[in-house]
Symmetry: C2
Subunit: 102 residues, 2 copies
């Protein structure tokens, strides 16, 4: 499994617009076949956010970046960012696909 952690730092005043676009993107991304799950977090600094993306395999990130919702998110948030977003990549060693209560 491939896990990607993206950090976004937005300009003051752009928090709500960024959050709205990112929740919409997360909802659509969770419907992708290659996505195990796609979360959206806020840091203690309210202008800093995190996207946590877990994919089944290497094809997952490629399919995500080719999606219409990703393009819409990227274009919407570009002018809201205070600096370029950063990206870390992990190997998912233990990532339960579904909550055990399912």
């Amino acid at each position: 499994m491939v896990v990607v952690l993206v950090r976004c730092h937005v300009k003051p005043g752009c928090e709500e617009a960024f959050a709205a676009a990112s929740v919409e993107n997360a909802k659509a991304s969770n419907r992708e076949a290659g996505v195990l799950r796609f979360d959206f977090y806020r840091e203690e600094d309210p202008t800093r956010f995190v996207l946590l993306e877990a994919y089944r395999d290497e094809e997952g990130p490629r399919a995500h970046k080719a999606s219409a919702h990703y393009a819409r998110w990227r274009d919407t948030v570009e002018p809201l960012l205070a600096e370029e977003r950063t990206r870390e990549r992990f190997e998912g060693v233990y990532v339960p696909e579904r909550h055990l209560g399912c």
Copy 2:
């Protein structure tokens, strides 16, 4: 929702023992009532690992730290660490509880 990201840097040669203890801890943690999910990742540097813990609310981390499996994990990994583990905390803005395929 409360999200905690823990980073652990282990001594060379301790990777497999650390991973085994951490997978066991993640499996047990996913059965806690207050845990939405508990993942375990490896960074590109094979001595560096990440625990990604998503809880329903503030009570979740407290219940986790009071569990027998947490105490066992903490005591097992303590001598394997190259340095003290670090911890970041996020607010979960959008954290789907279950994969939509459920």
